[in-house]
């Protein structure tokens, strides 16, 4: 199953159209500026799920399921924040704006569902910086395609590992919705919505590596422009 251990292979498969690779190179170009502002880039660190201590899993779920759900939650946070930010930017028009509104609502619903399921064991929402991809229609679509294809591969990789049947049933129902989103975003971007007869899964390690490479996850809120309080104490 974990046949994508080489990140280059993985990127060319999941990221067929180069969106994430392009975003990464954009991120690399802006890295020095970001360092200037003293930002800490957490990358893979942020998506590494804080494992909850103890065997008391949420709602009596197996600990391994809680772990997988938290991993899925981070991907859902990423997607929900991405669409919400794009919607708010006002940069999207026509069918793309409509699709982003609907898909965004769905991703937010997924986040809500996982938060409810996980209760106090849910990981916190990381801080994101989408590197300007939410501020223009074409980069938005390209990144959306990459995110959705990534989510499909991620859910597919984890589904057979889930132990609790209700969790598995929910996960497969979300998995196919992510595939619908992927096809929709591809159609809007103008590329084939279903490239191959079989969609391949991806391991957590591969997904984490790709997400880290985008540098969309930052460890703490942007500090740019924020002034120190004038009065302290």
């Amino acid at each position: 199953m974990d046949s994508f251990e080489h990140s280059a292979d993985f990127l060319t498969t999941v990221d067929r159209d180069g969106a994430l690779a392009e975003t990464r190179s954009h991120a690399e170009r802006t890295l020095s500026r970001r360092r200037l502002f003293g930002m800490t880039l957490a990358g893979a660190g942020a998506i590494t799920i804080a494992r909850t201590a103890g065997a008391h899993a949420a709602a009596g779920l197996p600990a391994s399921d809680v772990d997988i759900l938290n991993y899925a939650l981070v991907l859902e946070y990423l997607q929900a924040s991405f669409y919400t930010e794009a919607e708010r930017s006002g940069a999207l028009t026509g069918k793309t704006a409509e699709a982003a509104r609907i898909v965004g609502a769905t991703e937010r619903a997924h986040v809500k569902a996982f938060l409810k399921l996980l209760g106090s064991q849910a990981v916190k929402r990381p801080t994101f910086d989408f590197q300007g991809t939410t501020e223009q229609q074409r980069p938005f679509l390209k990144t959306a395609v990459a995110f959705e294809d990534l989510a499909v591969a991620a859910y597919k990789g984890q589904a057979p590992k889930l132990q609790a049947n209700p969790v598995l049933a929910a996960a497969v129902g979300i998995h196919s919705v992510e595939a619908r989103h992927a096809a929709w975003m591809r159609q809007l971007f103008g590329i084939t919505p279903a490239v191959d007869a079989f969609d391949r899964p991806a391991s957590r390690r591969s997904i984490n590596r790709v997400v880290a490479s985008t540098q969309f996850i930052v460890s703490r809120p942007k500090l740019t422009g924020r002034k120190k309080p004038e009065f302290t104490g």
Binding site: V172, G173, R180
Partner: protein, 209 residues
């Protein structure tokens, strides 16, 4: 094209206990639908909620086989008769190619246990572009819901292989909706179908036998 790793299931003998339980369960669910032989066989699956086993995988894949046969026949006939052009034709050709590969993978997994190709009567559904579009949306939604409905009934290995197919069916469903100008992903979670519901849906589309 790489195929998913469905384990060959035909060398295994079907577990007598679980198939008997399935038959007994089906007896209660026999309605008008069960008079159609293939649907009758599928109804047994609807009642088979035993824990996953190779024997149960075989039954589920036999249902999946009917689904893939239906899709292949539907797209073949539509491409001949529905006068499809442009995006819709491109979609139908691509989907047909995918469904043929799915069919081959399921047949290979079932080996000697693969049933023969059923008969079909798609009526007007393959005779015009608008009718085709509506039926294709319905058929792809049945495929997604049918696969999803069996996720908890499959052994983990077969589930992993089936998961490589179901998301492609979901892509088809969204694709044809987008071409038709509809919302491509209307629900936050795809509702599953039981085997019985999936069989009934396939019959409505045109699966006979």
């Amino acid at each position: 094209m790489r195929q998913p790793e469905f384990q060959r299931l035909d060398e295994r003998t079907i577990d007598v206990r679980s198939s008997r339980r399935a038959l007994l369960g089906a007896a209660g669910a026999v309605g008008a639908l069960a008079t159609i032989p293939v649907v009758g066989r599928m109804l047994q699956l609807g009642a088979a909620s035993a824990s996953p086993s190779k024997a149960q995988d075989v039954k589920i894949l036999q249902l999946v086989l009917q689904l893939e046969y239906t899709q292949v026949a539907f797209y073949e006939q539509a491409l001949r008769q529905a006068g499809l052009t442009g995006d819709l034709r491109h979609f139908a050709r691509t989907a047909l190619e995918h469904e043929r590969q799915h069919l081959a993978a399921i047949r290979k997994a079932l080996g000697a246990k693969a049933g023969a190709k059923p008969r079909f009567d798609f009526g007007q559904k393959t005779r015009s572009a608008p009718a085709f579009t509506q039926a294709a949306i319905q058929l792809e939604d049945i495929a997604v819901a049918g696969y999803n409905g069996q996720a908890t009934n499959l052994t983990k290995g077969t589930l992993a292989a089936a998961a490589e197919i179901v998301s492609v069916e979901a892509r088809h469903a969204a694709w044809v909706r987008a071409i038709a100008g509809q919302v491509a992903a209307p629900d936050p979670v795809d509702e599953p179908m039981t085997a019985k519901q999936a069989a009934q849906g396939l019959h409505e589309i045109g699966l006979r036998t």
